[in-house]
Symmetry: C2
Subunit: 349 residues, 2 copies
Amino acid sequence: MAVTIRDVARVAGVSTATVSRALNVPGKVDEVTRARVVAVADELGYRPNRAARGLITGRTGNLGLLVPDLANPFFPGLVKGVQSRALEADQQLFVVDTDEDAEAESELVRQLAKQADGLVLCSPRMRPAGLREAVSLAPTVLVNRALPRASSVTFDNRGGAAQLLNHLGGLGHRRIGFLGGPAGSWSAAQRLRGLREAAASHRVTLKELGPVAPTFEGGLGAARVVLQARVSAVVAFNDLVAVGLGQALADRGVDVPGELSVAGFDDIPMAGMLRPSLTTVAMPLHQAGREAVELMLAHLADPELGPQRREMPTTLRERGSTGPAPRPRRAARPDRTRPDRSRRSDDDE
Amino acid sequence: MAVTIRDVARVAGVSTATVSRALNVPGKVDEVTRARVVAVADELGYRPNRAARGLITGRTGNLGLLVPDLANPFFPGLVKGVQSRALEADQQLFVVDTDEDAEAESELVRQLAKQADGLVLCSPRMRPAGLREAVSLAPTVLVNRALPRASSVTFDNRGGAAQLLNHLGGLGHRRIGFLGGPAGSWSAAQRLRGLREAAASHRVTLKELGPVAPTFEGGLGAARVVLQARVSAVVAFNDLVAVGLGQALADRGVDVPGELSVAGFDDIPMAGMLRPSLTTVAMPLHQAGREAVELMLAHLADPELGPQRREMPTTLRERGSTGPAPRPRRAARPDRTRPDRSRRSDDDE
DNA sequence: ATGAAAGCGCTAACAA
DNA sequence: TTGTTAGCGCTTTCAT
């Protein structure tokens, strides 16, 4: 068996209660005794048994983190942020990937809640009722989603979208498409709103396209609808969609961004690995993750604390561009037969 | 407070011991009583307190998973596999991202081991001594790394490399470069070995290039050395490097794969999202993750069980290509829908 | 087949 | 400031 608090007590010549206090409530024990206890504990390599502690305190020392899909490059940054802060607070982290399954989410949350002191739910897909249950089960912080009377960390999607549109507007684009994400998506709504507001003050026409799945495939399948919309720039729901769209356009011989600009959200690492340049709205994922844990800890420390909200700032980024101008491909033959875009009716550039 | 075993016992009119048995050792209790107990437990919504159980059984019901970097697209598939099997076994999963820090790894493993019944260490960067300690702390399964007298799940890198070289050789390539990964890398060595053996029987000259960092940037910076090697095909250490190299070559106006073929390992999702086609050796990550947990559970069930080894088969895949040959650009015709090659590999469900 | 009781390792009253 | 004691929820002998 491992070394227990009794071993430490025996060797240090004190009671187990004193050991416990020395280690947990330093103020309530004589400095000399405390030092001795700590020394002994250290020497014996004592590590408290969290299960035993948890049995009496009701705390597990664990945090639960739920994400819809770890393979989505948006999430690892968040997970890392959450983890870094959790470890600092000496909390271990359960990570659950729900595979985008809104149904499964609820049950997983129930399981998690039982073993964790608090929950961080990232972009939860479940319906509000499910979220409410989660909140009732354990202190919960939502990330990338808001809910009345619940704590959350969100990103300034609206502001970011506005920045993006201002940028495009400044470049001379007058007809811009928004290739929307999934129907009920909260962030898609925010982004659209930001774009609309900015479009108004730029005399830009905003065309709503889609919605499409928030995936590479979603973007891949959207080339046609985008070309038909006769826009000079497209804002995709996120980078994954933007990348898919970019590929589909390239396959059709459309020069990106020469003929058509593509922008996205998230600033996923892949955005920097691609050639058609991509303007994207970056989210401070790591920080958001840390902030979420911070709120959790605050709730743990003070159960009476009301709902807290943090909105993280977003930043416009230019990714993957190799140079200033769109470079024609070398071996490319100049046969650009694209029925839709061949007649330029737009006031590009 | 939550509903405890005593509540169930009282309502069912039996002792707590019987409830415990009914729920855990169905054989040792009368079928009628068992049914009643289960019904009551169910109705009351009883959920065993794992801390209490753990206190007496010494089991936590948790598994620990350690990965070097979740943002590396290689790992999420593995994590998902591990998680899926862990949940089936009613084990919760601690996930720790070590940020490629070999030093931190050891301490994190120590912390993990205390709260988990077993450990799964993916591509651990730590030195053998550290691994030995881990193994001594808790039942441990290594993934993507082997260690004498330790259980592990590895991939058939050698066989995959051989397949790859056969493929390239069959295509007529006679000078092939290997852009190696980090110096001490176990998998890099395996891959090189497989390539060498196959090269011999194909009268192919294998040029060792690099090593480079196993990252996108690593590949990006290798264009020059690759071009100087005057090879007609390059096998990169992994897909990330391959993608970086592909971009760097494209920037220099080299036609991939027309003038130079690029291949990689891992079959990361991104491989399917890119245009210069990429031949890659796919690893059954999801399955490997599940297998790792399987081995863990076997060790848990029988502590006397000796070290187990599994080598997972690898498969050659063609990704991101739009056609068979270096493709002249095609004018956009009425929707020539590309076969959708970008879906995740079948083993990733 | 079932129950009584002990006790896992720890913390938190309550006493001293 | 420190020790004594009870008990968190559960499993597991040991009786019955």
